[in-house]
């Protein structure tokens, strides 16, 4: 009798845990993993910019006009090393972008859903500054872009990437050896192949992060010496019926052709 009760208790406990797990599996979590180093300071990561991407296609009968298809969020932070490196100040900017599809089950009925994101970072530094990268150069402006696409079908999921390297100066973080060495930055894109169909309506902050950084060294600058870092973010959400590139306007406040412009006027004397 005792054995039976223990057996039933075990079965009960297993089923209870299973029930709990099934409920919890639907929840997404967000982590903002920042590079950490006792010598570096990270600032400004308490601002989140976001924009909703809305359906503007009249032909898309299964989705209401102007319904929110997804949300794109991005954090922009600066880091500054608290010590001189080779007589220069070391500075940088980090951008993290994530996407969150909404109302996925509705789209699934139309045999698929996809979203893509694009992140570009561009520097225009003072001529006395030097951008840190795998290909050090004295030239001080340029850009580098990176994009990834995830598409999901009703039967299977698919992930594809493309990297557009149109300049040598700023870095997508996984290529940035100097930044990696100093700040221990890890490229944290983690494609959720396995869980895609199991928890389709979860929030994929972790899985859809993209991160870019631009790091540079500068000698002490005068007050009027300005350098700019601009970041361009684009996104699209599509059903398979209307799959295609459909870049969306990031929303209010960004007049410079869908760019977020960061301007630094800092004197490190």
């Amino acid at each position: 009798m005792k054995k039976r009760i223990i057996l039933f208790a075990i079965v009960f406990a297993v089923l209870f845990l299973c029930q709990k797990t099934c409920i919890l599996a639907d929840e997404g979590t967000v982590h903002i993993s920042l590079p950490t180093d006792p010598n570096a300071t990270i600032v400004n990561f308490t601002k989140r910019y976001y924009f909703y991407v809305r359906n503007t296609k009249t032909t898309q009968t299964d989705v209401k006009m102007l319904a929110a298809l997804g949300r794109v969020s991005y954090f922009v932070g600066q880091y500054h090393v608290n010590r001189l490196i080779d007589q220069n100040f070391y500075d940088g900017v980090i951008v993290k972008v994530c996407m969150e599809p909404l109302e996925y089950p509705t789209y699934l009925k139309s045999n698929g859903f996809g979203w893509s994101e694009y992140l570009e970072i561009k520097s225009n530094l003072n001529s006395v500054c030097t951008v840190q990268s795998n290909y050090p150069t004295n030239s001080t402006s340029g850009s580098k872009s990176y994009s990834g696409t995830i598409s999901i079908g009703s039967q299977a999921s698919n992930l594809s990437f493309s990297v557009s390297n149109n300049a040598k100066y700023c870095n997508v973080v996984n290529k940035s050896q100097s930044a990696n060495n100093i700040f221990h930055i890890l490229y944290d894109y983690n494609p959720p192949f396995i869980n895609f169909n199991a928890s389709v309506n979860a929030i994929y902050f972790d899985e859809t992060w993209q991160m870019a950084s631009c790091a540079w060294t500068c000698p002490p600058l005068e007050d009027n010496q300005v350098y700019t870092i601009s970041v361009k973010i684009k996104a699209s959400f599509c059903t398979s019926k209307h799959y295609g590139v459909n870049w969306m306007d990031p929303g209010p406040g960004f007049n410079d052709s869908q760019s977020l412009l960061l301007v630094y006027r800092k004197n490190y004397n």
């Binding site: 009960f12 029930q19 209010p252």
Partner: protein, 182 residues
């Protein structure tokens, strides 16, 4: 007595186990994002939504109140709720909020980590920057209606800037913050 225990106890455990198993494997009704958010803010983390300015029609599950002024009394935190979310609706540019009212709101947020707000509009950005209720400066001024939020997440104040304007988007922003702060 022993016989009763021998029969009833296993039956009860089996019955309970089967119920749990059915609950675990039975197809669940898929809630839309809007329904999930409403459930979260009305049941799991009870939230009082205070609307100042023009009325907004939110999901009926949510607890919504209209207020006509920003005073410590009108927006004082009600302990029967877990969170308070103040929606300042100025999409028509008619909302008259003084610097004093912004300061009242700021002080309330500083002293109570359960209070957050979202402002929808364009005429009050300067006041918000002046009172430093959000982490923005003059370079961030927007001419078009913009959603600017001050979100308390476990005592850390986050500034949010975006294009949320529909009732669903306004609520979804806050629901996401609540979801991720747990």
């Amino acid at each position: 007595m022993k016989t009763i225990i021998k029969i009833i106890l296993p039956l009860a455990v089996i019955g309970l186990s089967v119920t749990l198993l059915v609950m675990a494997i039975a197809p669940k009704k898929r809630l839309t994002s809007e329904e999930k958010d409403a459930e979260l803010l009305s049941k799991t983390h009870r939230t009082r939504i205070l609307v100042y300015g023009d009325a907004i029609e939110f999901n009926k599950e949510l607890y919504v109140e209209r207020i006509v002024s920003i005073t410590p009394e009108s927006i004082g935190f009600d302990s029967s709720f877990e969170f308070e979310y103040i929606v300042l609706n100025d999409r028509n540019g008619q909302l008259c909020m003084t610097e004093k009212e912004w300061n009242i709101l700021k002080e309330l947020m500083q002293s109570n980590k359960h209070v957050s707000f979202i402002y929808l509009g364009s005429t009050q950005h300067k006041n918000m920057i002046k009172t430093k209720i959000v982490d923005l400066d003059e370079a961030d001024l927007f001419s078009e209606p913009t959603a600017i939020g001050g979100i308390n997440m476990d005592g850390v104040l986050y500034t949010e800037v975006g294009n949320a304007m529909t009732p669903f988007e306004i609520i979804h922003n806050f629901a996401s913050a609540v979801r991720h702060s747990r």
